[in-house]
Symmetry: C2
Subunit: 233 residues, 2 copies
Amino acid sequence: MSYSYNHPRPALAVDCVIFGFDHREEAPELHTLCIKRNIEPFKGKWALPGGFMRMNETLDEAAARELKEETGVEKVYIEQLYTFSAPDRDPRERVVAVAYFALVNLEKHSLSAGTDADAAQWFSVSKLPPLAFDHKTIVKTALERLRGKVRYQPVGFELLPDEFTLSELQALYETILERTFDKRNFRKKIDNYGLLVETGGMRRGKPNRAAKLYRFDSKRYKALEKHGFIFEL
Amino acid sequence: MSYSYNHPRPALAVDCVIFGFDHREEAPELHTLCIKRNIEPFKGKWALPGGFMRMNETLDEAAARELKEETGVEKVYIEQLYTFSAPDRDPRERVVAVAYFALVNLEKHSLSAGTDADAAQWFSVSKLPPLAFDHKTIVKTALERLRGKVRYQPVGFELLPDEFTLSELQALYETILERTFDKRNFRKKIDNYGLLVETGGMRRGKPNRAAKLYRFDSKRYKALEKHGFIFEL
DNA sequence: TCAAAAGTGTTCTTGATACACCCATGC
DNA sequence: GCATGGGTGTATCAAGAACACTTTTGA
């Protein structure tokens, strides 16, 4: 290969912050999927899944590929977050990392495909273990972005099962935004948008009244969005 | 230099979208500063200022450095935008570009330092010339980001002189958001935030009533921000 | 004295907030 | 039958929208 430009080249990595939400806990919380490194540097430490971009793929493709290879997660919401470039972020040489964040339904991805339990694990974001490289900073940045984004775009639904109850949705927003909502007002607001449809199913199994299940009407949202509609919570 | 990793390495460039606002036109508009390329590829075409990251600097530093070197612009608001990685975005070889956007006061930077008039030029964003590489996409992405950002963060002030009139501020928001505001309601809202202070000066010179000048109280904003205050327009 | 933009209040409508009780279910 | 969360309505308050005239200035 001959280079037309003659410049020093950093290695270029992608790293993924995968957010999952556990709505079944008493104290629901956001979780992040980490993998245990089995090579140096930081061998044995927890880190974000990631790897190096190939020369024939885009960063988006690299992020999706690494996500699948390292955690089995695929076909989920994923978005470029930020590019981290501190010269010493990798102890061995210059590596620039393009970070992504993904939103997944934790139930669907509760650890199975291609990873043994010791190699990948969900951590609640408030109890992260020490992470390799600058991955703690990356997670923090991702959290801030998620908090900002969730307020004016309906991305929260990506973290829930296809069918969910209004209480689950409310718990999700309360967790991410670190505040509480009045139940009646929350339901009223969601209702007004007309973006949820009852599926007919009910969430049973707990010793209390069964809850109606809803799904997010993304077709309707896309239609509204084109006419300048802005989801805001 | 010995490499610990053995991976193909793309060249890594930074490109800057510099936004300026001309409030003196009858039809005020956002402008972008472009430079004429004097090397291949795309020699003679207009392009965003930019260049390659060095191995001992961060991307932020590279962006600020290129901005200054190529346009003389320095000490302005600048923020990382997005990283572009289409494999064929540079016709010669793989170059990944980390895009930044800067907000400047157009009057202060109306082309002088270190650039001849043929080498750098402001274009209104609705009348951009054909741009090199994928720079058109980059400008489009920057515009979308600016539009989103301006609604909930007081970044618009970066585009105005230190002292500005309320009409200028209103024209700025109307231009960026492509809508109109009622003059009285706009002033009321801005007033309620208490983030503008009268400087005592007046904008004179036109055959109409002189307008009071204001400046943005960024100290007060930072204080409010810490208490969870959110600017929103 | 004229044209052009600055400046200013009130009414109405809409959305946000606050608040408390009955209902269905599994154990 | 009891503990647990599901589900609902109304009154008040604050913010947003609609709307028109007088003032100051330079030419």
